[in-house]
Amino acid sequence: MAPRQLLLRLQLRSNPQVLCGVRGAVSPLASAIGFGEEDCRAITLALDEAITNVIRHAYGGKLDRKIEIRFSVLNGAKEGKPALEILLLDQGAKPEPDALKGLPPGELRSGGLGLHFMRQSMDAVVHTRVGSTNRLRMVKFIR
């Protein structure tokens, strides 16, 4: 396993007002680790979509539930290059079976793009449930 260095831990409520602050934090962190501009935008999008899904689906739009986010660097994760790991934890509803498969993009429906964006933007997107906690792990390697 690559040695993990925890950079920043965020605790927030499931209120969309705070999304801008989380986006503001992740992009310069990713840049400082060594990601280029396009990758920083992709990482920002993936995290925004992940939190949006927690707010809407795990917490059904309730504004006062807890979300935790952890940013870590995985050193020497791939060919000696570092990777960024983002962990997202919530205590919301368990996803419906098969819901996380996602829908194909390119169709004119208002929804169903978030998981696609996350998977396009990151190298790994893994949802698990541990006890009553939903745990989403996203990893992106530096190219």
């Binding site: 999304l19 920002t44 925004d48 809407r56 390119g106 004119l108 929804g111 793009l113």
Partner: protein
């Protein structure tokens, strides 16, 4: 995010400034549907020059606008997409479904398909 409307003859231009995300995409959606469905404006144009960031909830409100405009045979037009907004639309594979121009002049002058 701020959204404001300029009303010309048969056309409304929405100037949007700021990020479009879950915190404000409902406001964008509402503004669009009011203009298209209720006021029945035949051409609605979104000025996205001031939008540095848009996520899937923002795209979803644009899709709502597009669908509503198709229902009533109105035109729904975007212009001034930032690099980042263009990337996200590309990722959604919906880029070709929208009528998109570089700037306001082109958006206003073009007579459409």
């Amino acid at each position: 995010m701020q959204i404001s409307a300029r009303r010309l003859e048969n056309t409304t231009i929405f100037d949007v400034i700021g990020d479009i995300d879950l915190a404000n995409s409902p406001a964008v959606r509402k503004a669009l549907l009011t203009e298209i469905r209720e006021k029945k404006i035949p051409r609605v144009i979104m000025n996205l020059q001031g939008v540095k960031y848009i996520d899937s909830s923002g795209i979803a409100s644009l899709v709502e606008g597009l669908k509503a405009s198709r229902d009533v045979q109105a035109r729904f037009i975007l212009f001034g997409l930032s690099k980042s907004a263009r990337e996200v639309l590309q990722l959604s594979r919906l880029l070709k479904l929208f009528e998109i121009y570089e700037n306001e002049e082109q958006a206003l002058s073009n007579e459409g398909a």
